[in-house]
Amino acid sequence: MARLPLILAFLVACLPATAQQADAPIQQLLQVHADQLAKPSRTKVAPTIDAIASSGLPEAQTVLRKWQDKELWRNVETGLFIWAEEIDRDTIRGFDFAGDTALGELPDDDYDQSKPNSGVRKMIGAALVKFQLTAEDIATRRTAINNIERDAEASHLAPLREAIEAETSPTLKARAERLERLLTIRFGETEDERIAAIESFKGDLGVDLRGALNPLVTTDLEATETEPEGPEVARVLKPGSEALTREAAYDLLVTEGFAKPRISRADKAAALVANIDGEAVAGIQVASLDTEDARDMAYAKLAEQGTVDPVATEAEIDETLDRYTFYEIFTGAPPAVAMAAMDALNGIETRVAVNQAADLALDAISLGSIYFLAAIGLAITFGVMRVINMAHGEFIMMGAYTGFVVQQIIPDQTLSVILAIPLAFAVTFAAGVAMERLVIRWLYHRPLETLLATFGISIALQQIAKNIFGTQARPLTAPGWLDGSLVFNDIVSISYIRIAIFVLALLFLALFLLVMNRTRLGLEVRAVTQNPRMAASMGINPDRINMLTFGFGSGIAGIAGVAIGLYAKVTSEMGADYIVQSFMTVVVGGVGNIWGTLLGATLVGSLQKGIEWLNPSNTLAAQTYMILFIILFIQFRPRGIIALKGRAAEA
């Protein structure tokens, strides 16, 4: 017996559409506009849509949506409207608008489908926007605004304006207001309204604003023999200028029908070939047609004979171009609006340029701090000890690979980076001490030999790293909290990792100053550098100090390697990429002075970024010109920006 209710329900569902409420208010409203609903026409449908939309009936939105989706059907006999889904060719499943009750499966033949065309559907869509914008549900309202932002139309403006009043959410309201002004710029009815909207955006840099303004200032190129006049003339162009090449100008005249066509060399040659008569073209020997002048002459003869169309010669082209004036007219908007948009865009460009300069400065500082990090170890070994260590770059690489290995063992990124820093210091400190003991110790006062021997070590270390870790770049992943960037506005931003490197560079500077000026080791280092014999007489062991200093410089290179590895990829050649720049930094800054190294790094960094900005497509060129600049710089200040004076300079 449990099945009985089910069967009953089935029977009820199968009943014919007698249950439809013919006297519901919505049905009555639909009946008033029955003609347009059944057969909508683009020109006359507007009052119908308005009537339904503004009826205030709860079903109005459903009617419009179903109508837009071509799911509105009308009973042939009774003339009542329902909405329905097609099941197959012959049957539909109908629903009554009032109460949204199901009417069961209905035969297709009893109903006519209303098929609004795309124009009408768009109008219905605009009416629907109003419902979405004023919906109870905030998600619907947000979606509606998103949709308008993405694909705005003139018809959205009115419902948007109405919806702003009622909007309760402050963020959505702000967005809606901004959107309203943007739409006003694009679709506003009066010029004053649009200009006012443009001016209301003063100081804004938004991409959406630029998107709204750009179409307003589109222009068309035209040519005339008289002086162009009128407010819509944007500017007058000269053929042969950057904005208008002579070819483009002449092509315009040809397409407008003002001038004879030109002919390309290939076409001319083809025409000549087509008219070869035995051994000659128009009486000129084929064999002599091996210059452009001869071909021009032959073609002109053919044109005289009438076998080919006459074409413009260079002289004629010049004369025609001189006769015409070329100008651009505004086509995107009325001239006054276009001028206002142009002004606004110019203002934006200026502000964008200022912000780009700020962004560039940030980039330069960040690159400078990377160079500083790479060079600070050299500032110790080369600057203080005067030992030229060409394997310095390989110490950076060793530090980076240490970081990589630590990360393979300890998956936690924060912990591994924190561990990698002292480990990298330890590894490269040990390598530095070993190198000092085994090689450099024997070569003090023979700088060229030191350079060569350390080069040997450098290529050996590089190849060993290649053999162990392979040639592909290894990742050194930064901890999650260093992801992302600090965003100031659409243009100015800096990634946290660069900030971290900057901070690290400052820390190293402080560390260097502290060790050199405030510790026993620093004192002894300075003593040994100035006069090893005297220092030895005072009870300082120069060998030990040299070893420690060299180890210290190498260790700092290792830490720099971890930092640089976080920012770039870890490869066996990464050290070689920085070595020349590092030496440049130290030499430009002035050997033996950490502040000089700081200045040098800033100079080299901003120089490279500055040149990259002048020629953004080509970072190779930037490096080339930077090196050239530095070579020249050293000509004029051979001892760097901050030159040591007196006896220290001769050491």
Binding site: R265, A269, L272, V273, I276, V286, A287, S288, L289, D290, T291, E292, R295, I388, V439, W442, L443, P447, L448, E449, L451, L452, A453, F455, G456, I457, S458, I459, A460, L461, Q462, Q463, I464, K466, N467, A576, V580, F583, M584, V587, N618, L620, A621, Q623, T624, I627, L628, I630, I631, L632, I634, Q635, F636, P638
Partner: protein, 420 residues
Amino acid sequence: MTDSTLTGTAPRQPLALRFPAILIFMACLALFTVGVTILSEGFGIGVISTSFVKTLGKTLCLCLVALAMDLVWGYCGILSLGHMAFFGLGGYAIGMWLMYERTRLIVVESMSAQALPPTPEQISDGIASQIFGVVGASEFPPIWAVAHSLPLQLAAVVLVPGLLALVFGWFAFRSRVTGVYLSILTQAMTLALALYLFQNDSGLRGNNGLSGLQNLPGLGNVPQSVVSVWFLWASALALALGFWLATWVVSGKFGSVLRGIRDDEARVRFLGYPVEAYKLFVFTLSAVIAGIAGALYYPQAGIINPAELAPIASIYLAVWVAIGGRGRLYGAVIGAAFVSLLSTWFTGGQAPDIVLGSWRIQWVDWWTVLLGVSFVAVTLFAPKGIGGLFDLLADCLTPNRHGADLGPDQGALREQEADK
């Protein structure tokens, strides 16, 4: 020699007699060249493959550039880490003509089938699009203005490296940049040049470089086995002339001043010699020699690209000279030949692997390590390099009974040196 310099009146003997090394060297070189020719495929019995003849020819060119390096470094104390830039520029200069001329022949050939005879513009456009198609250009950059002329490009082989060295050296020496600073500066120069050439709009086909240089224009039907022997002879001749020239430069008073500059620049300056002019002359001369060596090398290599100008190449050059023994010309030649041939052998995969238990040392991977380490060892333990072995030999023949310092300083002249 000391006598004639002092009196200034004694008749000077010919250079070759005063420096028997020249005669020995020339004899060895001639023997080598003739021997290779007899064993070659093109002219002889075909024991040596054409590619190995090319390798030997290239090695002679490397010996020549090592000679140039020894001139500036071993005799004048300027450790230039950018000499391969001059070598590469010489290669580019000759490569431009080779590539232009060969492409022109191909283009003219392909255009001769057309109904109309080609115009100069068409030919030029055709060559340009053939050569610069790979970098997305179809017009000749200005630096190719004289690429059609062999004499002018040959002049460029000498002039371009020479001018670069002259300008760079003038700037550097004028401001008294010396020692390691100069080394870094020269390294920066070659790095800048390489980076510039790597760009596609440098006008020299970016990182594609110039290729097909082994095909001499107009000699398409001469087999490479013959061409390779021609180049071997040309390289040997250039090396012989270079050796003679270098010996002549470092002999006599001029050479003494050079060595003086190497040992103590300030003292030579105080003696009134224009140190900068001497250095500039030697630097420029060696750049020119390097350029000529490059112009002979790259037609044998067949391809040149900006990687050849990378700083590491110049460092290897210094390695060769150091291992061979700087400060003696034959040392540089021996070092370049020895190390570069050894390097070819090791990196060519011909050297047998060393098996250490479960671990195999493959020389392709570990040769560079060995080179680096042996370089350190030579610097530390054998500053005279391979050339020092000849001293040992000479000492065995005539026991060294002299050698005391003539003065109290470390830098004082030794008796041995005073005798020479």
